[in-house]
């Protein structure tokens, strides 16, 4: 039993932090908010060089062969700087799903390309109804020769405009199945949306009789239900790690501010109204840390309670991160409400992830099914 980071894990965190502090300063984040693509290629290449893009993939695919705890460390650090770009969609939604369920050829083709920085992936996990239950999928896959023809509408597909392939669940004659779709293929329409978190890009993806070959199928035909559930668990824990990073950043900024801001002739951190608020924020951040890293370990280790741990993490961190980021604006007062001040970057990042991959209520129902069936 050892619930602490190894030396290597601590080293990874400090190297990720210093690289992001250097290359993902707020100036960069704000520039990307106005950028057409929304992310910077130089930083992407750097992440490939540093081994982050292939971090959880086996060495045979050019990866680092590390696990979900290490990936959570990287994601927490990305949340901490509100990193803008398709890292999460590529590595977590695309890469991990293929790693677990893809054919050898698919892994060969995509994981190496992701690790080297050549390819970006994403997954289209939501439809109009916003239900995260894979069973609610209505997009269809009709048999067409050896392949399929896909139709349907997907919502909130992250970073689809820069993806080389999108994982798309659809209903085949055999049942719910998962396909790799080229977003530039005929019949695919991408429509951008503009959310309040400008460091994240969401697209509506319309499939109108899109042809895919036999090799587009991921896993078995009709077997995507449990596959998607495990992909969603990984996504939920990954998002929790990012939200944790955003919350810790907001806490740090609040504490620093409380040490320099004076009102009534005193530092505001000396007032219990502010000090107690910061203490409560730290408690929620530390509890979130426990939840995120326990869940990352449990998924990696295939622990009995992995599904429970993932839902505990997502339900707990979703609300805690929202609260902590919100309270940081409150602790700052007016300055925290300005566009110029950075708090809103983290506040919005936490909010955009809160509702993804199942919100707190969604996961609380999953918990109830596991423990109060």
């Amino acid at each position: 039993m050892n619930f602490s980071f190894t030396e290597d894990q601590a080293l990874l965190r400090s190297s990720v932090r210093s690289a992001l502090d250097e290359q993902c300063k707020t100036d960069h984040v704000r520039a990307m908010m106005d950028d057409r693509l929304g992310y910077g290629e130089p930083l992407w290449s750097e992440m490939a060089k540093l081994g982050w893009l292939g971090l959880p993939f086996p060495e045979q695919y050019g990866g680092a062969g590390l696990g979900l705890v290490e990936l959570a460390i990287v994601l927490e650090e990305m949340g901490r700087v509100a990193y803008p770009g398709p890292f999460f969609s590529t590595v977590v939604l695309g890469g991990l799903t293929l790693l677990l369920n893809g054919s050898d050829a698919q892994k060969e083709r995509w994981l190496s390309a992701i690790a080297s920085g050549r390819s970006r992936l994403t997954a289209a996990l939501q439809e109009d109804s916003l239900d995260w239950d894979p069973a609610s999928t209505t997009a269809t896959a009709a048999k067409a020769g050896a392949g399929w023809t896909l139709s349907g509408t997907k919502r909130f597909v992250p970073w689809a405009h820069v993806a080389d392939a999108v994982l798309v669940p659809a209903r085949a004659p055999e049942g719910l199945s998962l396909f790799l779709v080229n977003p530039k293929a005929p019949g695919v329409t991408l429509t951008p949306t503009r959310g309040m978190d400008l460091t994240t890009r969401w697209f509506t993806l319309k499939l109108d009789g899109v042809s895919v070959g036999a090799d587009a199928l991921v896993g078995a035909a009709g077997g995507a239900g449990s596959l998607l559930e495990s992909a969603l668990r990984r996504a939920a824990v990954g998002a929790s790690a990012e939200m944790l990073g955003a919350a810790r950043r907001c806490l740090d900024m609040s504490v620093e501010y409380a040490k320099v801001r004076e009102q009534f002739g005193q530092l505001i951190g000396s007032f219990q109204a502010i000090r107690h608020k910061c203490a409560e924020m730290l408690m929620e951040v530390e509890n979130s840390h426990s939840a995120v890293y326990y869940a990352a370990w449990a998924l990696e280790a295939g622990a009995e309670d992995a599904a429970m741990a993932a839902s505990v993490a997502k339900s707990y961190v979703s609300e805690s991160a929202r609260r902590v980021c919100g309270e940081s604006i409150q602790a700052h007062g007016g300055i925290g409400f300005t566009w110029e001040y950075d708090l809103h970057l983290y506040f919005k990042r936490a909010k955009s992830l809160e509702v993804m991959f199942g919100d707190a209520e969604y996961h609380r129902e999953l918990i109830a099914r596991l423990v109060a069936a």
């Binding site: 039993m1 050892n2 619930f3 951190g269 000396s270 370990w297 280790a301 707990y316 609380r364 109830a368």
Partner: protein, 405 residues
């Protein structure tokens, strides 16, 4: 990071479980003698004072082994040992700060429950501001004479000895004029009166000391060191019990779920109501987070690190959780949850009822209000977190450089 238990820990857990299955009292323990006998069996099995030095009767065990014993006892709903404060606070204080003579004189008898202990810290006017305590210890040459009143003394009625904080110097700032002593409760100058709480029971006492006697060799540490000693020992054993605490809440939770399947609203079992399921899901998530926290604290203890001010975070988190847990229980159980007598058997609690605790949800609900007050209220914990962990500036306080009169 590896959250698997080692094969040694798993084997140890099995052996504890087997011992408990063979030795658990068949009937509830009613008298103090029965509880002492059970306490001694736990000690003889090697399950008490596990982390104390071997030469003074302890077991020299790792924190994980202590946590496993506590956890298995919670799982088996085993009665607690009887000398809780002796084991939890007094013993560790003597282990760290006592002289060899004090260790030899007192430790073994704590472990065997031959001598029962209480803690004499709080006073009517020294609660959160404990350092303003006024009970005086006057040097009379061969002994100290103690005068003053203590309150919230748990186990005071049965205690043979007390761990006392008293003022030995009124001319220095208040934190530096306090000394730590061991005092016999069995003497004419000590008057113990039970204090009735909102639960209707009296786990706590008030203690009045009038020229009570403390022998010179029973001073712990140096004169004026009492505040520092109290601060280092307040958090002892917190980590070792935290896993067990979660385990007992988990077993109460399952009983609550069973009740929610029977009780109905709008013709439907409560357990099928999405609103109730949300609440059950939330509190289970919080319980799991407390379990993960317990594993983090255990990791620190295993590495020989003292959690320090981090203990304030742990205490704040779980004591506030306990209130929410019991509030939810009484929400689900309705008036059944408020019964102190006459509740159906399946609505009883699986807790040790022999120390005056009633095995009812109502009692647990009332008792949960104590956790965010004793051993430093939530507000005090937040001050500690703010100042010592986050490094926020201290508040302007009238008594910072003050002298206690």
């Amino acid at each position: 990071m590896d959250l698997n238990y080692t094969p040694e820990d798993i084997a140890f857990r099995k052996s504890v479980r087997a011992w408990l299955e063979a030795n658990l009292p068949r009937a509830p323990l009613k008298t103090l003698d029965e509880r002492r006998a059970w306490h001694r069996r736990l000690y003889e099995a090697g399950y008490l004072g596990m982390g104390w030095p071997k030469e003074f009767g302890g077991g020299g065990a790792r924190p994980m082994e202590q946590a496993i014993v506590a956890d298995e006892m919670a799982r088996a709903n085993a009665p607690a040992p009887t000398n809780g404060l002796g084991l939890g606070i007094v013993g560790p204080t003597i282990v760290v700060h006592g002289s060899d003579a004090q260790k030899a004189r007192y430790l073994k008898k704590i472990l065997t429950a031959e001598e029962m202990w209480c803690q004499l810290y709080s006073e009517p006017n020294a609660g959160s501001d404990l350092a303003s305590l006024k009970t005086s210890a006057e040097d009379r040459g061969d002994h100290f004479a103690i005068n003053g009143q203590k309150i919230w003394t748990s186990g005071g009625k049965v205690a043979d000895w007390g761990l006392l904080l008293a003022r030995t110097d009124t001319k220095v700032p208040k934190h530096r004029g306090i000394t730590c002593f061991l005092i016999s409760m069995r003497q004419p100058g000590v008057d113990v009166r039970p204090l009735k709480q909102i639960t209707g029971s009296s786990e706590f006492c008030e203690v009045f000391m009038t020229n009570a006697r403390v022998e010179k060799p029973d001073q712990i540490g140096k004169l004026g060191e009492g505040w520092a000693i109290a601060n280092t020992t307040l958090g002892y054993e917190r980590g070792g019990r935290s896993l067990a605490r979660v385990t007992s809440y988990a077993s109460q939770y399952h009983r609550l779920v069973a009740a929610a399947k029977k009780l109905r609203r709008h013709g439907q079992p409560l357990a099928e109501s999405p609103v109730v399921r949300q609440k059950l899901g939330r509190i289970w998530a919080e319980l799991e987070v407390e379990r993960y926290n317990a594993l983090r604290v255990l990791t620190q203890l295993e590495r020989g690190e003292h959690p320090g001010a981090g203990g304030s975070l742990t205490k704040l988190s779980y004591s506030e959780f306990e209130k929410r847990f019991n509030e939810l229980a009484l929400e689900i159980l309705g008036p059944y949850g408020q019964l102190t007598e006459g509740a159906p058997a399946e609505l009883g609690l699986e807790i040790d009822t022999a120390v005056g605790e009633q095995g009812t949800w109502a009692y647990a609900y009332l008792w949960s209000r104590a956790g965010t007050i004793y051993a430093g209220s939530s507000e005090i914990q937040k001050n500690v977190i703010g100042e010592r962990i986050l490094g926020l500036p201290k508040e302007a306080r009238a008594d910072r450089a003050g002298v206690t009169r």
